[in-house]
């Protein structure tokens, strides 16, 4: 029997699931290799679990989502979280350090109807996760690598090194050293394919913190380059603001 693949959505923008549909060259072959058992963005046919591989997009922001992810974990042999929302809480985790009630009031005329948790949290805060695909959105090659590796029984190649390594592999000029542009690359996990520095822009951290991220020293360097507190706060407060290493550094520059 073909292995089954399921795709699930929590609080997110759909961009990471879309990355699967963006594998135009591989999609039809993939559909022949696995049974796509649940993927609402692509099909109205749904099959019950268990699933061999579940890809989970989005963060947990409501009580209902807490329940749903537990069920999905029970139904899945391998659970792979995809994207900044699922692995770090996403951009919506910016509310974690803020007054949720005030946020609701700012956006909704009748905030009392809004049923959402005070925080946006990654999937791994709720259930064990087998592999994490970082990025906002995830990288297509990493997604395909993960699926092919898991089908083959291999450990997916998901390097834990910094964005700087990608810069240097690609031969990109360092924007921080050569242009004095603040760049999150030294504390951000690589994998995007070196997108921002390649166009002369500082990385804004969408792959989340690398292991051993020395955010304090990098923040000090940003300050040395002339960035003010608010700018530093917001550099650590982008789409992976909820990741503990970044959240802590952001908090140090808040207020």
């Amino acid at each position: 029997m073909k292995p089954t693949l399921a795709v699930w959505k929590f609080s997110s923008c759909d961009g990471c699931q879309l990355t699967l549909l963006d594998c135009e060259d591989e999609l039809l072959e993939l559909a022949e290799t696995v049974t796509i058992a649940h993927f609402l963005e692509a099909t109205r046919s749904r099959q019950p679990g268990p699933y061999d591989i579940s890809l989970v997009e989005g963060s947990v922001t409501t009580a209902g989502e807490v329940e749903r992810i537990r069920q999905i974990r029970r139904d899945s042999r391998l659970l792979v979280t995809i994207g900044a929302c699922a692995t770090a809480g996403g951009v919506q985790a910016l509310r974690n350090a803020r007054d949720h009630a005030a946020f609701k009031a700012a956006v909704y005329p009748s905030p009392q109807f809004i049923d959402a948790l005070d925080t946006s949290t990654p999937i791994a805060d709720h259930v064990p996760v087998d592999f994490e695909l970082r990025g906002c959105p995830i990288d297509k090659r990493q997604l395909l690598e993960t699926i092919t590796a898991l089908l083959k029984g291999r450990k997916p190649v998901l390097p834990d090194y910094s964005q700087c390594v990608e810069c240097k592999l690609a031969g990109t000029v360092c924007v921080m050293v050569a242009h004095a542009t603040p760049c999150m690359g030294p504390v951000t996990q690589g994998g995007c394919g070196n997108l921002c520095p390649r166009v002369g822009r500082g990385c804004y951290g969408c792959f989340g913190p690398k292991e051993n991220a020395n955010t304090e020293m990098l923040a000090a360097e940003f300050a040395a380059l002339g960035a003010d507190r608010r700018t530093i706060r917001d550099l650590f407060g982008n789409v992976t603001a909820g990741a503990p290493a970044f959240a802590a550094e952001r908090a140090r520059h808040d207020g």
Binding site: K152, G153, R154, K155
Partner: protein
């Protein structure tokens, strides 16, 4: 560091990274999570090796890892490896059935300094799966029993159901003059033998420390304690040899992963003299 004995030099000086296809000709489930594979080349000559060496084993599309050769060095037609399933590649190797193909590169690395044991006592200390690279040495020692004063093996594992090659060891002890000491960290209900650390067995089994050559393989802390104990008992540091483990990608000294201080374990090791290791083993995260 030039004094490192490298008693076996593979013939090819120009190497490439291409594996040679081998076939699994026999498979033996040793323990719940541990399998021995006997391999023969699909084509061409078998691999010769000296006890202590390892090969790089490649499973199609899954990966390539270093595994010690665990068979009898006098039988080169069958290349034997004993593998514990701890991850992706070892898991795939353990699941291979007879007839399946495996890529092989090697053999690589230094060997147990066999000659140093001539006319002396050979003292072998194994911890857990560390017995695998030591088994070819024991084969060799028993075949050369007349040239050695004695051959002793101290073997420790976590629990009795983790004891490798037990039948064979007991047979050797019974008929070939192998002095065997076995101990486990944790006993099971039916365990009659000793419980404790390998170091507990050393005093009773060491006959003449100054005339002893010791060869050790096992988890790093175990080797450190055992080597220390042997040293304090009087075995010369230059006669204590350890087989070290580090991450290895190429096996040829080109990838840099297997460094331990001055050594590239794949090239200078895995077998290295304690005299040169002892300062390194205590250094934090080296």
């Amino acid at each position: 560091m030039t004094a490192i004995a490298r008693s076996y030099q593979p013939p090819a000086a120009e190497a490439d990274m291409l594996p040679r296809p081998f076939r699994v000709v026999a498979r033996q489930q040793e323990l719940a999570d541990c399998v021995s594979l006997e391999l023969a080349p699909v084509e061409g000559a078998p691999l010769g090796f000296v006890p202590g060496q390892f090969t790089m084993l490649y499973v199609h599309g899954v990966g390539e890892i270093p595994i010690s050769i665990s068979g009898d060095p006098s039988v080169s037609e069958r290349l034997v490896h004993t593998i514990r399933d701890v991850g992706a590649v070892t898991g795939a190797l353990c699941r291979l059935q007879e007839g399946a193909r495996v890529g092989v590169r090697g053999p690589y690395g230094s060997a147990w300094p066999l000659e140093r044991a001539f006319g002396r006592h050979l003292f072998v200390v194994a911890g857990g799966l560390g017995l695998a690279p030591l088994r070819p040495l024991v084969h060799w020692a028993l075949a050369n029993r007349h040239r050695l004063k004695s051959v002793a093996l101290v073997y420790g594992t976590r629990s009795p159901d983790n004891l490798l090659f037990l039948e064979q060891l007991r047979a050797w002890a019974a008929s070939e003059g192998l002095e065997l000491g076995i101990t486990v960290d944790r006993a099971t209900a039916d365990w009659q033998g000793r419980v404790g650390l390998v170091t507990d067995l050393l005093p009773g089994m060491l006959h003449d420390p100054a005339e002893t050559v010791a060869m050790l393989c096992g988890p790093e802390p175990m080797m450190r304690f055992a080597a220390q104990a042997l040293g304090s008992a009087g075995v010369p540091q230059a006669d204590i040899h350890l087989s070290m483990e580090r991450n290895m990608k190429c096996g040829l000294g080109w990838c840099g992963h297997c460094q331990l201080g001055p050594f590239l374990i794949c090239r200078d090791g895995p077998v290295l003299p304690y005299a040169e290791l002892h300062r390194l083993l205590t250094v934090w995260e080296l």
